[in-house]
Assembly symmetry: C2
Homo-oligomer: 403 residues x 2
């Protein structure tokens, strides 16, 4: 089993970079905080005797040689966070992978296959939209030019920031052929906790659509402009949000408006423009696609009724995927052998593993999230669940590296 | 009559400070742009032979002596603008007052009473809420400590910024006893244009409430969090906005949500907090007060239904007021004598004259707004309407200064 003391020391140290009130982290991709965390992580990898390489998208790979020069077992996740995120989302998966390597070192174990651990760039999509640009980039979902050109809210591009923090490597360093890919992650939902299970054996990831909407009405003075003469972009957005919640969201489909802004944004100005995003998810691709079409129809109908112009940009779409059944079985057996309760589960969030799945056999391990919370400073996974996750990951890696 | 060429030169020059695309101005109170405009205006006042003094709130008074040391006729408005405002709102009233003085100079006229022209600080309320801090300050509506402590969105206080731009004067310089106060302003609404009238004789100003609302739900991940477990602050805000528009806004009551923001403001985060403002107006104080109570009830009801916390701050309230009937008569007669069509009208917007009215006889002159637009870069008043306004103001001042 893994070394708990070392693991928690590492986790606690990683919480010192980008700390915000409420025990949270703000470590947006390619920011100064991300750079600082990458530097620390790089040192740790070198201390563990790993060979580090960085690809053209800033993904970091740390390799441990095996007995044979076979395709490696790869384990990883991401070190970036939401603007006001927690200490576990992504980070846990990277640091537990490193702990697995250190445990192998402690025990003098030479695995049959090489081992690689990965930190993917911009998983969150909070700074550069859409999410998973690093893993999607190497999986052929996004081409290099697209990834490089993505801009943050202040107009800085992915490429500029990647170069600025000094983490632009070579395209030749991208992930090569691999035997299997594993990602351990917090669940970010309430199911494992509700059902009192220690390990989630993740069978797949639900589908996602992201839509960016701009409504163009007319700015006016809030005082002398009668209601019937207004083209209020925010009132139109409010009607749309209400409709989406009432008619589109069901128990099988989630609808989230996560970002909104208006212009001129002054108390006594009728908003002339409103910008917002829509995130639609379902485990059922057919339902999701219907909901997405229905959403665009609702937006168009309300805009027409109110004589407000509308622009829609489809920011992101991913289909529902199924992970490799051999790997999920190995994960399930590892948990059982270690005496941990487990449950097969579908991921509600996107993950790097989702795109890596395009390239080869992939699966994920979930550990419980207290109150199902994530993307908030109060995000928490209990120490004992972290230990179960680490041991399950360790045993899964050991088994896979023998295949 | 006034000197059109000089007037339009002055207006055009004043549009060069804080220019934004679309022919608009961004000259927020106590900003660098406001400072630059004040400096230019100060020079113009000195060139016109006026004695300048500045009070503790940054209000600028420029005095022209009269034959007798009687209480002066005072004319003024404001030089600050909305974040994306036009070239006329406020500015026109200050510059036409200066043109009146210059016309008196040209004609070598010494008025019986002294004349004062005023530029009030922070009329818009766009940078420091609420509006009309300068005029409200001298009228006893807001005390000095309150005005000084108002903060902009970046946390800078009124006092800091007033000192920084070098326009903090003495409390002893505040507006003293006066014979009459006149403010010329653009209508900012569609009535004069619709009815093809050149001059609005403003009989009063409607009442206003400003409310600031914070809804505190729970931030969550947009993916794995089922709809029924969410406490989405933005969906609550959307329902509230919809209700306000449907149930509170009528032809006699306007309701505007001009500002909104959410946190964490990330595409894949359920908004944990939503902040927005509500502006409610009516010519009928009873209706307005009922609408305001109803608004607070709606906000509380929706928040309770959705188990979302709520904080409300009443930012501003002004009652409906009536201007001085003697002055409105003088304005109406001046317009008629000059051959201009006129109409008695109620102001939908707040104005410095509204608070000065607490101190002594006050009234306003409106000139038409093309399409009723204001608080937007495309705000426009036609040259011929500006000239009618200037001449009406000139004749009104001449008449009042003889009283
Ligand atoms: N795990 C995670 O939060 N990923 C971000 C992508 C998403 O929105 O699901
Ligand atoms: N005239 C004007 O736009 N004043 C600002 C105060 C208000 O909101 O009415």
């Amino acid at each position: 089993t893994i070394n708990e003391e070392r693991l928690f020391r590492m986790l606690s140290k990683s919480s010192e970079t980008g700390t915000i009130p409420g025990n949270g982290l703000s470590r947006l991709a390619l920011s100064d905080q991300d750079q600082e965390m990458r530097n620390i992580y790089k040192e740790w990898c070198e201390e563990a005797g790993l060979m580090l390489r960085i690809d053209d998208l800033g993904n970091m790979y740390a390799r441990r040689a095996g007995k044979n020069n076979l395709p490696p077992v790869v384990v990883g996740s991401h070190l970036d966070t939401q603007p006001a995120g927690g200490r576990f989302d992504g980070i846990l998966g990277v640091l537990l992978a490193l702990e697995v390597v250190q445990t192998l070192n402690d025990n003098g174990i030479e695995t049959e296959r090489p081992l690689e651990i990965v930190n993917f760039t911009n998983e969150e999509g909070a700074r550069f939209e859409p999410p998973m640009l690093g893993s999607g980039g190497i999986a052929g979902v996004f081409d290099q030019a697209y990834v490089y050109s993505r801009k943050d809210a202040d107009g800085f591009s992915f490429l500029e920031e990647l170069e600025r923090i000094g983490y632009k490597g070579e395209a030749g360093n991208r992930l090569g052929d691999f035997h299997s890919f594993l990602e351990l992650h917090i669940e970010q939902g309430p199911i494992l906790e509700d059902e009192d299970k220690q390990i989630g054996v993740v069978e797949g990831v639900q589908g996602i659509n992201w839509l960016e909407v701009t409504l163009k009405g007319e700015a006016d003075h809030a005082g002398p402009t009668p209601m019937h003469l207004r083209k209020d972009a925010l009132m139109a957005a409010a009607e749309i949000m209400n409709q989406l919640e009432k008619n589109i969201a069901t128990t099988d489909i989630t609808v989230t408006v996560g970002k909104i802004s208006v212009s001129p944004n002054s108390v006594n100005c009728v908003p002339g423009e409103a910008h917002f995003t829509v995130d639609i998810r379902s485990a059922n691709d057919k339902l999701r696609k219907e909901a997405f079409e229905e959403t665009k129809k609702t937006i168009r109908r309300v805009s027409e009724d109110r004589e407000v112009g509308v622009e829609m940009t489809e920011l992101w779409e991913t289909e529902k995927i199924d992970f490799d059944s051999n790997i999920t079985e190995v994960i399930e057996n590892s948990a059982t052998e270690l005496g941990y309760s487990s449950k097969r589960i579908l991921s509600g969030a996107g993950h790097d593993a989702k795109y890596v799945n395009n390239l080869g056999p992939t699966a994920m391990i979930f550990v419980p999230s207290v109150n199902g919370k994530s993307h908030v400073p109060s995000e928490l996974t209990l120490d004992r669940d972290i230990v179960s996750g680490a041991n399950t990951l360790y045993h899964t890696v050991l088994t896979l590296s023998k295949e």
